[in-house]
Amino acid sequence: MNMIFNYIREIFRAISSLWAGMRITGKYFVSPGQIVTQKYPENRATLKMQERFKGEIIMPHDENNQHRCTGCGICEMNCPNGSIEILTNRVPNADGKTERIIDKHIYHLSMCTFCGLCVKTCPSDALAFGQEFEHAVFDRKKLTKVLNQPGSSLKKEAKQ
């Protein structure tokens, strides 16, 4: 008798446990409250990433096409993956001495692990993280970028 009673009790407990779970899913089915998913490709125009989002390394240029990179090579030295290559030129400056300026700041996005060391260690704050995250391309070579824009020059007050 006791066995049958226990058996029936187990069945009821099982059903009530299933019901407890179904009630939650049912509740969210009829009243989702807040929508947590995003319609991603459709909302591209309004999609805003967080301001510190690490999408890629960029070199901000101002309206005169000037950046702050002196070509010192500290970021290249600090990058653990060799994602940065600095090519410099030597040009004579106004005092007649030769001066080192940046020729190409080459950034291999495909090798970058977004550790942030280059941005942190740059003494002139020339680098920053960009918000772009759609990096899919058909050719791997397109992931190698030159960060200083053509014809850009060093912002004078940034020079130490």
């Binding site: 407890a20 779970g21 899913t25 967080q50 510190r52 989002f53 653990p80 550790c115 942190k120 993280f129």
Partner: protein, 375 residues
């Protein structure tokens, strides 16, 4: 105990019926290959084969500086990225005898616990899914998203933070940091009981977890099973209690212990740890002292010649970092004792003699992260 383990060394026989689970089986949570010997539906023995994503992180560390090592440790146990970072930072700081600011200690502890919460949420989601309850995956990830948003706001990345640096943090946390955490705790205190209603009480789940894969306390100690998996067997091994680091000596919390040692006990430890994590965060989040986000460090860190050791409690157990330095700016040898490695090899003991369906439940309850095993 050790004699018993030696006696248990597996001998393959010719007529054994062997199937491979993995390396790409969805239930193994990564590229792990389990060589499973079956007799009908009963598991005779399991031999784990590891190394499919061995990247040689320990060897790579010998060529790069201490600041650069941090970003590699993210990629071991990616769900405990912050704790892994912290282990290396603490080790370097201890070696240099640097006193980090109080603010850093508080923030690190909060982030540890947030990371643990996110990790346990993902584990809960995936564990339910392993056992056939797909719904849990959506609920767990919905709540985990809020933590990841807090991470993204402060560090710019969701999974692989690289937010610690020897001496402190990479940069200061976002001004919204405290508010975001408090909102999350209020929200999650309401949602966590739902987890219990959805899965814990469920009769199918109970039947599949109760009494399955029983690990005795002796076995847990013999195999070095730490973290929630060990604590489910009554092995009291919480380093936050026994070797407090950062701000863990300033907070009150309970070490969760269950003595049953079965899959359900390991499950319950993690569920209760989520409550404890929220308690710890609540004690700290309002009291974060003002101050610098990093101690003053030289740009090139050289550890004095010698050996250094540091342990932290990650979401899966005890992570130990061992550095041998010869005085250069790179370590001479770097060794990680990863929790998942030890937790994996107890699996044969737990699953042998059981059914193959139980093997999935057991591997889920051990909460393995394969990149941490292979390193």
């Amino acid at each position: 105990m050790s004699e018993e383990i030696i006696k248990n060394i597996i001998v393959r026989e010719n007529e054994d019926y062997i199937i491979n689970m993995g390396p790409q089986h969805p239930s193994t949570h990564g590229v792990l290959r389990l060589e499973v010997c079956l007799q009908g539906e009963t598991v005779k023995y399991i031999i784990p084969h590891i190394g499919y994503i061995h990247r040689g992180i320990e060897k790579m560390c010998e060529a790069i500086t201490y600041q650069q090592i941090i970003h590699l440790t993210d990629r071991m146990d990616y769900l405990s990225a912050h704790m892994n970072n912290e282990a290396v930072c603490l080790c370097v700081e201890n070696a240099l005898q640097v006193e980090v600011p109080e603010r850093v200690k508080y923030i690190r502890t909060i982030l540890d616990e947030l990371n643990r919460l996110a990790s346990h949420q993902l584990w809960w989601s995936a564990f339910g899914m392993d056992l056939g309850a797909l719904t849990t995956f959506f609920y767990g990830l919905r709540d985990r998203e809020m933590i990841l948003d807090i991470f993204e706001e402060s560090f710019g990345s969701r999974l692989l933070h690289s937010f610690n640096a020897p001496g402190g943090l990479m940069h200061d946390v976002h001004p919204n940091f405290q508010k975001g955490i408090k909102d999350f705790i209020t929200y999650f205190r309401k949602k966590l009981p739902e987890y219990d209603q959805l899965l814990t009480g469920n009769v199918i789940f109970q039947q599949r977890a109760k009494g399955i894969g029983i690990m005795s306390r002796e076995k847990a100690i013999a195999y070095g099973v730490t973290g929630p998996s060990g604590r489910g067997s009554g092995f009291s091994c919480d380093l936050r209690k026994y070797a407090p680091y950062s701000a863990y000596d300033k907070v009150q919390f309970n070490e969760i212990l269950y003595t049953e040692g079965d899959t359900l006990a390991r499950y319950k430890v993690r569920m209760d740890e989520m409550w404890e994590s929220m308690n710890i965060i609540e004690q700290l989040v309002d009291n974060i002292p003002e101050g610098d986000y990093t101690a003053k460090m030289k740009p090139i860190i050289k550890l004095p010649a010698g050996e250094y050791f540091q342990r932290v409690e990650t979401a899966r157990g005890e992570l130990a970092v061992y550095i041998v330095s010869d005085g250069n700016k790179t370590p001479y040898r770097m060794k990680f004792r990863s929790p998942n490695f030890s937790n994996l090899f107890v699996m044969n003991e737990l699953a042998a003699g059981g059914k193959i369906a139980d093997l999935i439940a057991i591997s889920g309850s051990l909460d393995l992260v394969i990149p941490d095993i292979d390193r």
